[in-house]
């Protein structure tokens, strides 16, 4: 009797997460209907975001926040990927045993710091440096991209390190025995072995960067404008939602849901590709 109840409750709990996921998708989709009907797929490359007369109607296009999201993510990935690979190589192949542990803990703590802290630190300490070096206002694509990179590096490095650690020592030792250098061992033994995990970690980090809100909200400038230079301020999907979602009305609100739906679908696709295809557990 109790056993039956226990099992049923556990099944209920397990299916709950499934329903949550479907629920999120359904809610976003149905609330985005008005905007979907009005603008369709043109939404993706319409630049206007204008509220109509007397708050009626209006024209809303997602081009600027979409481009802003893609560009900040691109900058972050270009900076973060080589650094994260370097850290993972350092932790698996170079670091002496005594410092692997403290270094790993430090990297993982870096990953645990809330994103709002990165944003605030970036605004007060990093933006001025970017301004001195590259010009502009301090806030903009470049600053947001760099701080976003700092934020995803530890995450990417930790997963890459884990998958690099799966390369068997015997293979590595054999390679060393025939005179391979460390780099050759990494390139020809470790990399082929952990390729899936590494690609997966890069895609996961990409998914995280796309959806990151707070670090970017402080730093991107939150302006509805197409950036002409890399230091120009613009906005991104999560930042637009964070700043304007609650005050939006009618069609604008529906367009916000449309943007949230795009973000959700894209990150869902990326993350599932990374997890199911590249990082399948053996």
């Amino acid at each position: 009797m109790g056993g039956r109840l226990f099992k049923d409750f556990s099944l209920f709990s397990a299916t709950l997460s499934l329903f949550l996921l479907i629920g999120i998708f359904a809610v976003l989709f149905s609330y985005a209907q008005a905007s979907l009907h009005e603008f369709g797929f043109n939404f993706l490359y319409m630049e206007q975001w204008e509220i109509g007369e007397d708050d009626e109607g209006g024209v809303f296009g997602g081009y600027i926040p979409i481009i802003g999201t893609l560009l900040t993510t691109l900058i972050a990935m270009v900076i973060a990927t080589p650094l994260a690979m370097g850290i993972a190589i350092f932790l698996t192949e170079i670091a002496p045993a005594a410092i692997i542990k403290p270094f790993s803990i430090a990297i993982e703590l870096l990953a645990a710091i809330p994103s709002i802290i990165y944003g605030m630190w970036g605004l007060f300490y990093f933006a001025p440096i970017v301004q001195t070096l590259f010009g502009g206002n301090g806030v903009g694509l470049l600053t947001a991209g760099i701080v976003l990179a700092i934020m995803i590096i530890p995450f990417m490095a930790a997963i890459t390190r884990d998958s690099m650690n799966t390369a068997p020592d015997v293979l590595k030792e054999s390679a060393y025995a025939i005179g391979a250098t460390k780099f050759e061992v990494i390139k020809d033994i470790v990399m082929p072995y952990s390729k899936g995990g590494i690609i997966g970690s890069v895609i996961l980090a990409l998914g995280r960067a796309l959806g990151e809100t707070m670090a970017v909200a402080f730093l991107i400038g939150s302006v509805m404008a197409i950036p002409q230079k890399i230091t120009d301020p613009t906005t991104s999907i999560p930042v637009l939602l964070a700043n304007n979602f609650a005050e939006a009305q009618d069609l604008e609100m529906s367009s916000m849901y449309y943007l949230a739906l795009i973000l959700f679908v894209v990150s869902f696709a990326l993350i599932s590709m990374a997890k199911v295809y590249f990082m399948r557990k053996r």
Partner: protein, 270 residues
């Protein structure tokens, strides 16, 4: 000698990137500690936001995260139990496993949007329940995944011993399997709590924020992280200093819970 040179270059670059990473950690922590400690006063903890303190914000943030944890932990642990102990290796289980794994990385702002649609808009006001629900939805998949993974580490001989003693399935799960996985599951709960306590994006338009002390979950609810976001963008020095103080306290809490979690796991597995 080209390949030896290339080897040296790569190794030096890798070592350099590791120090760049650590450098940023120290840079952030040092500035945070410096600005935070300088701005901290005793009144910071005894006053509410309206009087320049963070007392109500701490209470609010912990209340929402606490409610989220209380509701999510039993659901998440039970779901993990189902996946590993009852439905293991079935098709449905593998779908749920993958989806909840994917949910752990879902953009947090989207969860806020979702909760807004059914817990804020219908009631016409931001409220504490909506904030707690957002945090709970973020937490659930993390707890499912850790429970699932921790139960997988329990050797099947333990379960067989339980069966040999004539235990029923749910007794074996509760009294043997879960006991063996206790430390791992607890660590998972701690780490997921550390993750949601520092979340801002899903609270922005669910709980929103409140300058005053309140325990009324039906009204706008005070949030530490949302306050940091607001305070940091005010032009006056006092607000910014309070934002630094609040950030320092928040980071200290998050890192402390993380270190405790790590320490607990390590002492068990040695």
């Amino acid at each position: 000698m080209n390949r030896l040179l290339l080897n040296k270059i790569i190794l030096i670059l890798s070592t350099l990137s590791a120090f760049v990473g650590i450098g940023f950690l120290f840079w952030i922590l040092v500035t945070l500690t410096y600005k935070g400690v300088a701005s901290l006063q005793l009144t910071t903890f005894t006053h509410d936001l309206v009087e320049g303190g963070i007392r109500n914000l701490l209470v609010g943030q912990f209340t929402m995260a606490g409610i989220a944890t209380l509701v999510t932990v039993p659901l998440g642990v039970m779901a993990g139990i189902y996946l590993r102990e009852y439905g293991n290796a079935t098709r449905v289980t593998s779908i749920i496993r993958n989806l909840s794994d994917i949910m752990t990385s879902a953009p947090s702002i989207v969860i806020g949007v979702f909760v807004f649609a059914f817990l804020v808009e219908p009631f016409g006001t931001f409220n504490g329940w909506a904030g707690a629900a957002s945090l709970g939805i973020m937490m659930l998949p993390i707890i499912i995944s850790t429970t699932d993974n921790m139960l997988a580490l329990v050797p099947k001989e333990l379960r067989e011993a339980g069966i040999a003693l004539g235990g029923s399935k749910h007794k074996i799960i509760l009294q043997i399997v879960l006991q063996a996985a206790k430390v791992g599951v607890t660590t998972g709960i701690l780490l997921s709590f550390a993750r949601i306590i520092g979340e801002t994006a899903p609270l922005l338009f669910t709980s929103s924020n409140n300058q005053f002390f309140t325990m009324d979950m039906n009204s706008q609810f005070p949030s530490l992280t949302v306050s940091i976001y607001n305070l940091a963008t005010y032009p006056d020095e006092a607000s910014r200093n309070l934002a630094w103080a609040a950030s320092f306290v928040l980071t200290a809490i998050v890192l402390f819970i993380n270190l405790v979690g790590r320490f607990v796991t390590r002492s068990k597995h040695l």
